[in-house]
């Protein structure tokens, strides 16, 4: 396939590392500045996706499938986390009628 040779053709590994780093950082940024817990959860998903992308890039680079298998597991975990996270949010919403993380500051000091 034509596309398979992309690494040789000048799209370097660094490109993907930087790309995923930036995506990851965007996720981090989201976690930091958003106060809606659901969005924060989404940003975490974005972070995980950045990792997935990096894994895939390395997989291609190293020429083994291991990393892609790893990506599957990351997806598994992401799904599990999303489930649990959302149920926590539902619970919280029931208790406090909000999902604004800024409101959850009773525990401190």
């Amino acid at each position: 396939m034509v596309l398979a040779t992309m690494l040789e053709s000048g799209v370097s590994l660094e490109f993907y590392i930087i790309l995923s780093t930036i995506l990851f950082t965007i996720g981090v940024l989201g976690v930091l500045i958003r106060r809606n817990a659901i969005i924060i959860l989404m940003c975490v998903e974005l972070m995980l996706n950045a990792v997935n992308l990096l894994m895939a890039a390395f997989s291609t680079y190293h020429g083994t499938g291991d990393a892609q298998v790893f990506v599957f597991f990351i997806m598994v975990v992401a799904a599990a986390e999303a489930t649990v996270g959302l149920s926590i949010l539902v619970l919280l919403y029931r208790n406090r009628k909000t999902v604004d993380v800024g409101m959850f500051n009773k525990l401190k000091g």
């Binding site: 390395f58 990393a67 959850f104 525990l107």
Partner: protein, 456 residues
């Protein structure tokens, strides 16, 4: 491997038997499972075998068995001590116990893994039930809040960890521990990818064990979570996390020891100070425990910072003693059962219930590291190991022990103090259950004689 299977089967059994709404039966099932797991673990001592010989995903060497067995013991204690609470919601009794056992499953995987796959999965299996359990007092907003905080920071840390694993994989091209180890041993020049990956993984670990500046979740979560869960986090989760930590850094990354050692040393110092200083002014008991736990993480990190042949053992012993002390204190806290969880509520405990008071004092002294309790020997082993390499670090640790004594002692004084009036005793009745007393007894015995046995 067999123990994992046994554990899993009994978790399922517990979950299903719980539908009968007979809490005692559920408890018995769970305990049977845990005891059987323990037995299978013991049977594997000195006899590391693998279920799948072609792929050594998990590997039960003595190190793994030691850590797993301790985790099993702690889980038994926690289940016993928390039984009263679990029982109060009949339809969830099985869930509670099952989730704790799931978490234990994760912990066992985390100390026996052999590649990043299982490490990562183990970590998640360890964490996710705890996210849930932290919020398991559903009507309590604090519990939910702690759950949320733990979850957000935990998920974030998972992201960091995975990112780190990815970078590491990029550098080494493998997920296996032994291959990574070989890679670092053999290559003269290690790619920066590996360094960054290592640091990201380190950060994730520091989060999981609660070291500064990744510790912020822990006081809030310890405080908000139901007491039994707090105990579980302090004892089992920490054991699992540290087990994996020393496995990765002590084995896989030992080639880069010179690189990460100063960072770990610095963070150990920072953690000790943050934990101890924050604990000084606490008025809530579980927060105090949380900060003390942070401080203890600091001491534990010393083993990693110096990393000798006996580090894994020392660390185990330290965590083992710490676990007993914490579980004892959590049990006492549950007996006191103050709504506000004030330390002041402990006043008159020694008078009203001498045995509980005694165990509480022993546990606090053990945390403070007073000989001849187990906690002292834990510290002692760590310090002896470290002193020839880094005496200054030990000085710092001792200074911190000194600070720590302040708040432990204050608490002890509260416990042993005479109440101002006689009515005060009657007001504060401390209800105990036989199971809790058993737990306290076991902890006290372990704390008092554990050290001597080891040294002998």
């Amino acid at each position: 491997m067999l123990s994992l299977v046994v554990l899993f089967l009994f978790v399922l059994a517990t979950l299903f038997i719980a539908f009968l709404k007979k809490p005692l039966l559920t408890l018995v099932t769970a305990l049977t499972g845990l005891l059987l797991t323990g037995t299978t673990l013991i049977c594997q001592w000195d006899n590391p075998s693998d279920f799948l010989s072609s792929y050594k995903g998990v590997y039960f060497d003595n190190f793994a068995i030691l850590y797993s067995l301790s985790a099993v013991i702690f889980t038994i204690l926690i289940v016993l001590t928390g039984y009263e609470t679990f029982k109060s919601r009949l339809e969830h009794t099985g869930d509670y116990i099952g989730l704790l056992m799931f978490s234990l499953f994760g912990a066992v995987v985390m100390v026996s893994f052999n590649d990043m796959f299982l490490f990562f999965l183990g970590l998640e299996i360890l964490s996710i039930p705890i996210y849930v359990m932290a919020g398991s007092r559903k009507e309590d907003p604090l519990s939910s809040e702690s759950s949320l905080k733990y979850f957000i920071t935990g998920a974030f840390a998972t992201g960091i960890l995975l990112f780190g694993i990815a970078w590491l994989y990029g550098a080494t091209g493998t997920f296996k521990i032994d291959e990574i180890q070989l890679f670092f041993m053999n290559s003269d020049e290690v790619s920066s990818l590996a360094y960054v990956g290592l640091l990201l993984i380190l950060a994730a670990f520091l989060f999981k064990i609660g070291a500064a500046p990744f510790h912020f979740w822990s006081p809030d979560v310890y405080d908000g979570a139901p007491s039994a869960v707090t105990g579980f986090m302090a004892a089992v989760v920490k054991l699992g996390a540290f087990g994996a930590f020393i496995k990765l850094f002590g084995i896989a990354f030992s080639g880069l020891y010179d690189f990460w050692m100063p960072a770990v040393t610095f963070l150990a110092i920072l953690t000790m100070f943050v934990g101890n200083l924050s604990a000084i002014r606490q008025t809530r008991f579980k927060r105090l425990l949380a900060y003390s736990s942070i401080a203890h993480v600091g001491y534990s990190l010393i083993t990693l910072a110096v990393l000798t042949g006996s580090s894994a053992l020392n660390l185990w012993f330290y965590l083992f003693s710490y676990g007993f002390a914490t579980i004892a204190l959590i049990t006492v806290q549950m007996i006191v059962n103050d709504r506000e969880d004030r330390i002041e509520a402990f006043k008159g405990l020694g008078r009203a219930n001498p045995f509980v008071g005694f165990v509480a004092v022993v546990a606090l002294l053990a945390l403070a590291g007073v000989p001849p309790l187990m906690g002292f020997f834990g510290k002692y082993l760590i310090f002896v190991d470290a002193i020839s390499q880094n005496p200054a670090l030990i000085v710092v640790a001792l200074v911190n022990s000194g600070i720590g004594i302040y708040y432990y002692l204050r608490t002890i004084v509260v416990i042993l103090q005479k109440p101002e009036s006689e009515n005060a005793i009657e007001q504060s009745e401390f209800k105990t259950t036989p199971l809790q007393l058993v737990v306290l007894g076991i902890c006290a015995l372990a704390l008092i004689f554990g050290g001597a046995l080891l040294m002998a």
